[in-house]
Amino acid sequence: MRHLAQHPKLTQFGLILLAFAILMYMAGDYYDIITHSGTFNKLVASGEIAGATGFFESLRLLLNGTLPPQFVRIPENIVWGLPELINSSLLYLVEDLWKITTVDPVYGFEKNTTVIKEFTRGLAGIILVMINFIREFILGGTKTIASVMGWDFIRDTKASWPALPWPAVAGGAFLLGYSLNGMKLALLAFIPTVYIAIFGQWIPAMETLSFILVAAPVSVIIGLSLGVLAYKVRTVELFLTPLLNVAQTLPHFSYLVPVVTFYGVGDQAGAIATIIFATPPMIRLTILGLKQVPPETLEAGMMSGCSKRQLLFKVHIPTARQDMLLGVNQVIMQCLAMAVIASFIGATGLGYDLVVALNSLRIGVALELGISIVLIAIVLDKLSLAWANKSVDYLAELPFHVRHKHSLMFLAILALSIIVATVVPHISEFWGQMFYLIPENQGFSTDVWWDKLVKWVVVEFRSYFQIFNTFMLVSVLIPMRDAFLAMPVVATFTLVMGVGYMVGGIKSSLVVGGFLLFIAASQWWDEALITMYMTTFAVVASVIIGLTVGVLAARNTTATKILLIICDTFQTLPSFVYLIPVIMLFGVNDVSVLIAVIMYAVIPCTRYTIEGLRNVPPSILDAGDMSGVTKWQRLIKIEMPLAFPHIMLGINQTVVFALFMVIIGAFIGTEDLGRLIMGTLSKANAMGNGLTLGLCVAFIGLAIDHLIHTWADKRKKILGIA
C-alpha cells in the first residue's frame, strides 16, 4: 500500500488499466460482431441488433455485467451527416452563391457561373500561366507567351522558341553555384543536372522544376506574409494556430478533391494543393523566428532611425532569417514530397512518371525517378540557402566584364551549346539528341539490373519472406487488430482520457476526449481503429529501432554524422518510393505496408535520439564521470533522462510520419481510413467524405501530439531546459 501511495501516477495508471479491462470484458456477446470491421453498423442498419437501448434497459444490462450497445459503438448521430453538409456547402459556394453571367473569351458564348468559381479558376489560370511560362522557357514553345501577350503573329508564323539544350542548363547551374558559394556548390548543382539529363529524365524533371519554381516561392511569400501578420496581430495568430495544426496533420489525399472542385484538374491544381500543404511550416517558422529576435536588436534598429517599414524589412525579418530559411527548406522539401501526390490531380513531371512506374512495378525506374526528386530538392535547397547568405564586396571597384563575368560566361556557354545542338544533328542524329534533349528511351537506366536483382531475391528468398509474412499476420497483426476492434467505445475513452488526465490533468483529458469523440461519432470508427492499430504497431517498432540505433550511433561522432546524412536523404525521398521494395519482396498485405511505414517513421525518432543525446551538457556528463558512473549507468541515469523530452518530440514526429504513411499504404491495399480516403478520389461529390475522413486522421495525430507536447513541456520545465 505504501508503495502505491508513493507512486501516485503508477496507481492512477493501474486503476485506468483495471477499468479498461473490466469494460473490455463487459463487451460480452458483442465481441464477435465488433471484431469484424463494419459489421456492427451493418447489423444495426438491417435491424438485427439494436443500435441503442433505453435508460432502464441500459441500466439492467449494466447491472448484469454487459454493456448496452450505445456504449460499444456510438449509434448514428448528427456527425454522420457532416460529410454531406460539407459537400453541399462547398458545392453551394462554387455553383450557386453569387451567380453571374460571363462571356467566354475564346468562343464568345454566354455562360452562367459564380463569382467564387470565376475567382478560383482565374487564380488557377494565373498559376498555370506562370508554370507554363517557365516550362516553355526551358523546354521550348511559344503558346503561353503568345496567348498572354496576344501575339497572334507567332501562331501564324509557326515560329517557336527552341528548348534550352541541357548542357546550357547544366552549365548555368554550375555557374550559379560557383558565383554563390564557390566550387563545392557549383559541383553540387552541376552533377545532379547531368544525372537527370543522361538518365533521360530531362523533360519530366524540368516539368517538375517549373512546377516547384512557382509553388515554392508562392508558398514562401504567403507563409512569410501570414507569419508577419500573425506576429503583429494576436487575433490572427489565435485564429491561425488551430488551422495550422489541422493542415499539418491532414492527409494530403483528403483535400485533393476539394481542390479539384475549386481549381480544376492539372498542374495548377497540383500547385495549389502543394501550396496549401507547404505554407503552414513557413508560417510557423516565421512566427517563431520573429518572436526570437532579441529586443535589443530591434532597439538598435530604432536608434539607427528606422521607420516602421525599415525596421520590419531591414532589421526584424533579416535577423529572424535562420528560422525563416529553415522554413524555406521545409517548403522546398514539402513541394517535392507533394510532386508525387499532386500527380493524382493532374500535375505532370517526375511524380506522374513515378506513379506510372510504380503501377507497372518497375522498381529501377521508380528509384531513379525518386532520386531525381531528391536531387532537385537538395540543389534548390542549397542554392536558395547560399543566395540568402551571399555577401557583397562594396569597396571593390570592378570593371563591367569582371563584375558580370558569370553572366557573360553563361551567355557564352548558351551560345556554344546552341551551336553544338544545331550543328551536330547534321552530322549524327543520335549525338544531336544527346547534346540537346535526351529523350526518355535514350537515357541510361539501371532498371534492368534492379529487375534482375529483385527477381533473384524473390526466387531465392520468397519462401522465407512468406514464412515471415504468415507468422506476422497470424501471430501478431491479426490478433492485435482484433484487440483494437474488440474495444467497446467506452473502454477506448477510459483509456485515452485516463492517460490524458495523467499527463495534463482535466484539460488534457477533455482535449483528447474531444478529438476522439469526433472520430467515434463518425461512421468510420472501425476503420479508424484499424488505422490506430497499424500506427501503434509501426510507432512502437520504429521507436524501438530508432532508440537503439540512435543510442548506438550517438556514442561515436563519425557514426552520428553518417546517420544524420542518411536520415536527411531518406526523409527527402518521396514516401511512395518506400512502397516499391516492400511490394516486391513482401507482396500486397498489411505486413508490407507496415514495413514501409516503419522504414519511413523510424527516421525522426533516430534523428531526435541522436540530437538529444549529443546535446546533453558536457559539464553534467563530466560531473557524472567524476561520481564514478559506468557507461551503462551514465546512459540510463544521466543521458536518457535529460535527452528524453527532446526524444519525445522525435517520437511525436514518428507518430505523424507513421500516420501519413499508413494512409499512403492504402495504395498497396489496407482496410483503414486511408482506403476510404483513396476511394473518395475517384468518386464524384466525395469532397465531404474526404475532408471528414481527413479530419479523423488529423485528430488522431493531434490527440497524440497534444499528449506528447504537454508531457515534454512539463518535463523540460522540471529539468530546467525549456
Binding site: E296, T297, E299, M302, S304, G305, P318, N389, Y394, L395
Partner: protein, 349 residues
C-alpha cells in the same frame, strides 16, 4: 549671455510597468509609493528622476540590476514610453513629438551602444556600421566610405568584411560603437556597453572609450552596474536604487560625502587616492605668500603625485591646464586621503 540650454533635461520622470499604470498614477495624484503600486501589480522602474546634462558633458548612471537605470536611459531615447514627467532634448519635449520627428531625431542626433552589441547577424561589419546611414537614405558609396572611416576609428581595419559571428565580443562592441557614431550624433547613449566583456578586454575598451571621448567630446549618458567603471570614466555619477536617484554628484563628492547609506556601501571600499583628483582636496587660493616650488595639476589623480607632494612642507600651487593657479594644496590633505583616520600623526603634524 543667457544660461546655456542643457542638451538633456529630465523633469520628474516616472516609468511604471503594469497594465493599470496610468490609472494608478492618476489615482495617487502623481505621488508614487512603490509598495502601493506593487500591490496593484505595477512595478515602479523609474521614480521621479530629474537632472540635466550639459553639452559635452558625460553622466554615468550607475545602479545594480533592477535599479531602473536602463529603463531611464530607454525613456530618454524614447524606446519605452514614459509614464509621467517631461524629457527635453535641446529644449524640445521629445515625449510630444511625432513618430516622424522622432525618427529624424534618431537619424541625426542620437547614437546608442547596447550591452549585447545588437549587431545585425546578416550584415558584415561594414554593412552594420553603414546601416544607420543607409536607413537615412545616403548613397551606398557614401555610406560605405564613411563606414570605412569608422572602421579605422575603432581599429577594426581588415575585419570590415567579417560577419559579427566571426568576431570576438570586444570586436563586436567596437562595431557597435562605430555604428552608433556613424551618423555623428550629438548625444551618445551607452547601455552597459562593456558589461558582457572579459575584465581585461573591458579595461582595454574603457581606455578606447576615453580616447574616443577625448577626440569627439559628445554629450554622453553612460549606464553601468560597475561602480569602478563609473569612477574611471566620469566626473559625474548618478547612483540609482529601486528607481530612485539616490545621489547625483561629482565623483569626489560621492566618494567623500556619500548622501545615503546605500551610496556609502559602494564608496566604503574605494581607494580614494586612485579616484580623487587633486582639485577635490585643494583649498581656495587665500593669502598664501610662502609658496612651494612644486606646482600640481588640478586634474592629476592623487596617487600619481602623492609621492612628490607628501613630503612638501610649504603649500603648493594647484594649476589648471593653462598653468593658471586655481587653488592651494596642503600635504596634510593628501596624507589624510592616503591613510584616512588610521593616520595617528594627522593632527599632530
Amino acid at each position: 549671455m543667457s544660461v546655456q540650454q542643457p542638451v538633456i533635461k529630465c523633469d520628474a520622470v516616472y516609468k511604471v510597468f503594469g497594465e493599470n499604470a496610468q490609472k494608478m498614477m492618476r489615482a495617487h495624484n502623481g505621488k508614487v509609493d512603490p509598495q502601493a503600486f506593487a500591490e496593484a501589480g505595477c512595478v515602479v522602474a523609474v521614480n521621479n528622476a530629474s537632472f540635466a546634462v550639459q553639452k559635452g558633458e558625460m553622466l554615468v548612471i550607475m545602479g545594480l540590476s533592477g535599479s531602473g537605470k536602463s529603463t531611464l536611459l530607454r525613456c530618454i531615447a524614447r524606446l519605452t514610453d514614459t509614464t509621467a514627467g517631461n524629457i527635453f532634448i535641446n529644449g524640445v519635449d521629445i515625449l510630444a513629438i511625432s513618430d516622424k520627428e522622432l525618427i529624424q531625431l534618431r537619424r541625426n542626433k542620437m547614437g546608442m551602444v547596447f550591452q549585447s552589441f545588437a549587431l545585425l547577424p546578416h550584415k558584415t561589419v561594414l554593412e552594420n556600421i553603414a546601416f544607420p546611414l543607409q536607413v537615412k537614405g545616403k548613397s551606398t558609396k557614401e555610406s560605405m566610405q564613411r563606414a570605412m572611416d569608422m572602421v579605422e576609428l575603432v581599429g577594426l581595419d581588415g575585419r570590415e568584411n567579417s560577419f559579427p559571428r566571426q568576431l570576438s565580443g570586444g570586436q563586436q562592441q567596437r562595431v557597435g560603437i562605430a555604428r552608433s557614431l556613424a551618423v555623428e550624433p550629438d548625444i551618445w547613449f551607452l547601455d552597459e556597453p562593456f558589461s558582457a566583456l572579459d575584465p581585461l578586454i573591458r579595461k582595454e575598451m574603457q581606455d578606447e572609450f576615453l580616447r574616443l571621448q577625448g577626440v569627439l567630446k559628445k554629450t554622453i549618458l553612460f549606464v553601468t552596474h560597475d561602480f569602478d567603471e563609473a569612477l574611471r570614466l566620469s566626473d559625474r555619477i548618478a547612483i540609482m536604487k529601486d528607481g530612485i536617484i539616490e545621489q547625483l554628484d561629482t565623483t569626489a563628492n560621492i566618494v567623500l560625502n556619500p548622501a545615503t547609506e546605500y551610496v556609502r556601501k559602494f564608496t566604503a571600499e574605494v581607494p580614494r587616492e586612485k579616484v580623487l583628483k587633486i582639485k577635490a582636496v585643494m583649498d581656495p587660493v587665500g593669502d598664501t605668500s610662502d609658496w612651494s616650488e612644486l606646482r600640481v595639476p588640478a586634474d592629476a589623480i592623487i596617487q600619481t603625485v602623492a609621492e612628490a607632494v607628501i613630503g612638501e612642507r610649504k603649500p603648493m600651487a594647484v594649476v589648471d591646464a593653462n598653468d593658471k593657479i586655481v587653488g592651494v594644496l596642503h600635504a596634510a590633505k593628501v596624507t589624510h586621503v592616503l591613510f584616512g583616520e588610521k593616520s595617528a600623526l594627522e593632527n599632530s603634524g
